[in-house]
Symmetry: C2
Subunit: 277 residues, 2 copies
């Protein structure tokens, strides 16, 4: 541990939302444990005037902190990018770096048009996405049985194991109609899948979780309840896993995984090759 870690300001500059650039910057910066970063996203920089404002802001920051900030840019317009490049910074040009080799590989010229990736507006894709979100909301926690035949996947597992966030992420990012259905003590006594789900066996995917973690999560909701007790969590998780094994349903543990990782595993296992938005 150094007593004074390296602290740097990071600008994420984009002519669109900058969300992609920001997420990318996190994955690069996460490689530098020793440093601390303060990230500032500057979206919708689509003119020379706005570029000049950003330049002034970067230069001010460099002066104040006595360090040139890092700038991750996905500016598409070469003239706008050039202005920002000349600020007092380490300029990381995500867009410009890769557009040329892609042009060469394709033998085509790029359009240099702004904000195309998220500007899906009224397109079919966009409607599919909204429809999937509505579907997943309506089919959260087994609340609505009608229409399950339209589901792309049905997540099952004990209460609070991560089904809802995963369903919503799959819908939001991949326009996947992801329903989810709880496995409850009643099912464990019967040692059988909820009868509602039997016709959709091939759409089922299980999520499980370590009992200690589950108990923590449930205790936040209902402190000191039987429901949240380690004993109850151990029982439910053991029974749910036994049931999924018996019924040959693919499943994974959510305990140390992010929503993105769980969703990616589900897509792989279920064999859905969808493209992210």
């Amino acid at each position: 541990m150094t007593p004074h870690p390296t602290e740097r300001t990071v600008f994420v500059v984009s002519d669109s939302t900058g969300i992609t650039a920001e997420t990318f910057s996190h994955s690069v910066l996460s490689q530098f444990d020793q440093a601390r970063f303060k990230s500032i996203r500057v979206p919708f920089i689509d003119s020379a005037e706005k570029a000049d404002e950003v330049v002034a802001r970067i230069n001010r920051c460099a002066l104040e902190e006595q360090h040139a900030p890092l700038v991750f840019s996905t500016l598409v317009n070469p003239a706008v990018a050039l202005r920002v490049r000349h600020a007092n910074c380490t300029f990381l040009d995500l867009f410009g770096t890769f557009i040329k080799p892609v042009e060469e590989a394709l033998g085509l010229k790029s359009n240099h048009s702004i904000g195309r990736s998220h500007s899906v507006g009224l397109s079919k894709q966009y409607n599919n996405r909204i429809e999937a979100i509505n579907f997943s909301l309506a089919h959260d926690d087994g609340q609505f049985i009608h229409g399950l035949e339209q589901a792309d996947v049905i997540l099952i597992g004990v209460s609070r194991c991560g089904k809802t966030p995963t369903s919503l992420y799959l819908a939001m990012q991949y326009a996947i109609k992801a329903a989810n259905f709880p496995l409850i003590p009643e099912d464990f006594e019967r040692r059988a899948l909820p009868t509602t789900l039997v016709p959709y066996r091939n759409k089922l995917f299980g999520l499980s979780i370590q009992p200690v973690r589950l108990s923590e999560v449930r205790n936040e909701r209902r402190p000191n309840s039987d429901y949240a007790s380690l004993k109850q969590c151990r029982y439910e998780v053991a029974e749910a896993e036994r049931l999924m094994r018996m019924e040959n349903i693919p499943w994974l543990s959510t305990t140390t995984r992010s929503i993105e990782e769980i969703s990616t595993k589900v897509l792989e296992e279920v064999g859905l090759n969808r493209q992210a938005y």
Copy 2:
């Protein structure tokens, strides 16, 4: 229009989920209108053996299609990346390209550790995110009034203008507690905000939409209803916008914007500087 557009296969190879790389590849490829792309995401490539399988797959594809595929890589491990680089492809090394200039700027060595960006596991951040999703779900469509004082933002607008997807996106990506509340004909007759919302004026942000588009969206839900009629949509939108103007509530139109764009605008206007996951 060319009769036979350039068609290419694109591999997105990552030792983690590859979601960031995939989204980035979309934003680069969206610059090539003339071409069509088939994108294959290959996540969790974290060993030499898995790298060699990917190389074989890329080479097979190159042979079949008589074109070297494009490969977007966020492989962190240099040895694994090197193997894939040697496949018959145009190798676009997102990670390797930027790690060096960042090392130089910081005067630090990177950890070269895999899958750090999404492996948030049990961290505080991760819990905040889940908590925000639960909050936004519980406070969707004004269904639950208790706890609104904890909201970071409360989206208002007529039914089906895009409040729910935006709330969920803000929660999912930014751990923002985003409630949403409908503006309904009753409010328009009274020409006043729903009384529930009055104490939270400074958290309100309005969404609006073009009446023609709103009518389309509502018609999908309730075909040929009064609710979906263009006349009703025109009335509600005009009244909602008048109310928001009168009450000095910032608002924007969702009509031609993606969920990402709307969310980014909301963050800017509300002055929340949160970092994406």
